[in-house]
């Protein structure tokens, strides 16, 4: 398990994921790769943020914002 996978796992255990978004345990990604392909916008957004923030060189806040908003606008919310 990579550090990025571990980061995603740490975020996925937050109660909001289960309680507010009602995402079943089977749909919780185990790896970042799975997260990037998730059908849940919140999971997908978090996964992309991990990917971009931990990329070298990492993207600026503005670039990440642009990317995530585009992603959310395209996703069925």
């Amino acid at each position: 398990m990579t550090r990025r996978d571990m980061l995603l796992r740490d975020f996925m255990v937050h109660p909001i994921i289960r309680e507010k978004y009602k995402i079943p345990p089977s749909k919780i990604p185990a790896t970042l790769e799975e997260g990037l392909n998730s059908s849940y916008p919140i999971i997908k957004s978090i996964s992309y943020m991990i990917k971009e923030i931990k990329k070298s060189p990492k993207k600026s806040e503005k670039e990440v914002d642009k990317l995530i908003r585009k992603l959310l606008n395209e996703s069925p919310l």
Binding site: H14, P41, E61, V64, D65, R69, L77
Partner: protein, 710 residues
């Protein structure tokens, strides 16, 4: 990393070359106060942190005196360490030249010699090598001077984040929080912008935004004020807690200082009363005559003796003179002139007629017969002239003996006065002796009080800090009350503002929901949730790290306090104007233990440090994560028994620790330093004993510390 050796060369009280060769495990450096322990610690600190300034204060005064003629010599501190079985060397040094114009220092350098893994040696910058083998974030938690420094959370700016950055991966979450917040703010702005496009709600939104901004600004100002108050309150509480802990010491210090002042006053008075102007008193007060009576007696005896001799001589002379006189009297009054001698008138007649009528020969004037007749006539006249009594001959024409008697009598009369000198002089000497004894007593008391002060300082804080505590404790108490009162007022205002703000935000959210496009609202809500997830996860990770330190600290704490305190260490995270901080509590079954004694507090801080050291070892890669720790006098408040227990525990951890302590050094009957027997029961890998040569109090050039490996 293991420290193999440290070599000091002409560094402060370490004259010449002094080498400490260390072992893994516990290394103990023993030394009474003032023997060079702290200088040794400072040498290591200088090696790690020292720059090229103020070098003169580091030079051995003994070496300097020896080389006053201008010869150059080196001052250096060198350390050899092994990391992963490879030897690395660090050496900081400079050259010194003592000249008539003053001391010149030059050639300051910090050199590292690195043994690389293919067996080559390379010279490199000392700072770089040091940071490589002993990273700064670990060094920060590896060297401690005294007990007060052991509390790493006390004064630390960003104490928690420093710890987290150094020893936990929780710091990864910080940047997610930063990004999350940015994205959420941008989403909020997008919603606002969209709502403003609606002319219907534009004015209302502007008013609301303006009101929200105003409330937020007010809230932010009050929050800031509250944080400052909190920070000040924490500081004052810490000061008061410390004051409470050290107040008795501070009070004792004040009493001792007053006593020392009184002793010094007494010393001055006693010194001023001691008569030392003996020369003046010898002459002015006639002390010189103290032994005069003996001399006068001898003088008197001699006079008497001389007088006796004189009288004997006189008697003899008088007898002889009397006999002579008697004989003359007989001659003058009884015995007739010899036959054939003419009378005086006949002799005058013959001289007149210039003829001797005895032999009928002429006797011209000037002839032999004429002169003979003249002479006989004179003798005859003289013999018949009666002699006066007072014209008697005397033997001693000047009566010196009598004069000497008079002189002696005079002196005898003055003896009464002279006899008073001896008791007076004796009194003075006895008085001086007594005063000198008193002085010695006073100086002993002074030394005792000064030693007591040193003990108090070693047990607690520096002298100035203790004075500060004594003088300011009341001020701090008043400040604490003032701050608490103003905090209550601020909290009330903040609560009211928060309530107002919440209402305004709700009002705005309602407008947002009605007026903004739904996808913008959804995006904002998701980004709000993501920000919450990031923040909470970060908090969780920080808490987990603090829990880890808590758990490890308590394991160690329980071992150190095996027979004593059974409470627990509890690290608590909080925020103030400096950022996130950690507070240490000591918990008992009844709640917080408010005023732990110094020994307990030191044990607590040591446990946390050892825990951090263990965590550092665990997170460090390639097995090089064991780092040495160096403590100068960490157990001053422990007492001998607890120090022994503590050292035995440290020894059992099997990690390299260098502990400098004044314990176990005692004095024998002759006041010579000795290692106390108890030290035999202390398990250790190696021990050293620091002792100074005999030195002259005011001459720094006579100070030299000797290192003995025990």
């Amino acid at each position: 990393m293991k420290i193999e050796s440290i070599t000091l060369e002409n560094f402060q009280c370490y004259y010449g070359l002094n080498q400490f060769v260390f072992e893994n495990g516990l290394n103990i450096v023993l030394g009474d106060n003032g023997e060079g322990k702290t200088k040794f610690y400072e040498a290591i600190f200088w090696l790690f942190n020292g720059d090229k300034f103020n070098l003169e204060s580091l030079i051995s005064k003994k070496k300097l005196k020896e080389n006053y003629n201008g010869d150059k010599f080196f001052v250096s501190v060198a350390m050899t360490v092994t990391v992963d079985n490879l030897e690395q060397k660090l050496k900081k040094s400079f050259k010194v030249q003592s000249r008539a114009q003053g001391i010149k220092t030059e050639g300051f350098e910090f050199v590292g010699i690195n043994d690389n893994d293919i067996g080559e040696r390379e010279k490199m910058d000392g700072d770089k090598l040091l940071d490589y083998i002993f990273p700064p974030q670990i060094r920060r938690y590896s060297m401690f001077k005294g007990e007060a420094e052991l509390d790493i959370f006390k004064s630390g700016e960003q104490a928690l984040s420093n710890l987290v950055k150094s020893f936990s991966n929780a710091s990864h979450y910080d940047e997610f929080c930063k990004y999350g917040k940015y994205l959420m703010n941008e989403a909020e702005k997008a919603v606002n912008k969209d709502v403003k496009l609606s002319t219907k709600s534009k004015r209302q939104l502007q008013l609301l935004e303006s009101a929200i901004d105003k409330k937020r600004r007010e809230l932010s100002t009050l929050d800031e004020q509250l944080k400052i108050k909190d920070t000040n309150l924490i500081k004052i509480k810490a000061d008061l807690k410390e004051a409470d802990k050290y107040f008795n010491n501070a009070k004792h210090l004040k009493t001792l200082k007053e006593r020392i002042k009184r002793i010094n006053d007494s010393i001055s008075i006693t010194q001023s009363r001691i008569v030392t102007n003996y020369t003046t008193r010898i002459f002015d007060d006639k002390w010189i005559l103290m032994f005069f009576e003996d001399i006068q007696k001898e003088f008197n005896e001699k006079i008497k003796h001389e007088d006796l001799l004189r009288r004997k001589e006189e008697k003899k002379f008088n007898m002889e003179q009397g006999a002579k006189e008697l004989s003359e009297k007989i001659l003058n009054k009884i015995t007739p002139l010899p036959l054939g001698v003419p009378s005086a008138s006949h002799m005058e007649e013959m001289l007149k007629e210039k003829i001797c009528k005895v032999c009928n020969r002429g006797a011209e004037e000037g002839s032999e017969a004429y002169i003979y007749m003249e002479k006989r006539l004179d003798e005859f006249k003289e013999s018949i002239r009666p002699k006066k009594e007072n014209q008697k001959e005397i033997l001693f024409k000047k009566n010196y003996t009598q004069k000497l008697f008079s002189l002696s009598d005079n002196y005898t009369k003055r003896l009464i006065e002279i006899r008073k000198i001896e008791p007076n002089l004796k009194d003075v000497f006895e008085f001086n002796e007594r005063k000198n004894q008193e002085l010695k007593e006073l100086e002993r008391s002074l030394e005792k009080e000064e030693r007591e002060i040193q003990k108090i300082i070693a047990k607690s804080k520096g002298e100035s800090e203790l004075v500060n505590i004594y003088e300011n404790v009341k001020v701090w108490s008043n400040q604490e009350l003032d701050i608490e009162k103003s905090k209550v007022r601020l909290v009330g205002e903040i609560s009211r503002l928060n309530k107002d703000l919440k209402e305004l935000i709700l009002e705005k959210e309602e407008i947002d929901s009605k007026e903004a496009k739904s996808f913008l609202i959804d995006t904002r809500d998701i980004l709000r949730d993501i920000e919450t997830i990031f923040q909470d996860t970060r908090e969780l990770k920080y808490d987990e790290f603090i829990d880890l330190i808590n758990t490890k600290s308590n394991e160690i704490f329980a071992t150190i306090n095996v027979d004593d305190f059974t409470g627990k260490i509890n690290l608590i995270k909080y925020s103030d104007s400096r950022g996130e901080q950690i507070k240490i509590e000591l918990l008992t079954t009844e709640g917080e233990y408010e005023n732990p004694n110094q020994s307990l507090e030191t044990t607590m801080h040591m446990s946390i440090l050892f825990a951090i050291s263990e965590i550092a070892s665990e997170i460090s890669s390639e097995g090089s994560g064991n780092y040495p720790m160096i403590f100068d006098a960490p157990t001053s408040s422990f007492g001998l028994k607890k120090t022994m227990d503590f050292l035995n525990l440290v020894h059992s951890t099997d990690k390299q620790r260098i502990i400098l302590t004044y314990e176990f050094v005692g004095r024998d009957d002759k006041d010579n330093q000795v290692i106390e027997e108890e030290f035999n029961s202390v398990k250790r890998s190696k021990a050293f004993w620091l002792r100074r040569d005999d030195f002259i109090k005011d001459d720094l050039s006579t100070i030299n510390t000797n290192v003995t490996t025990l």
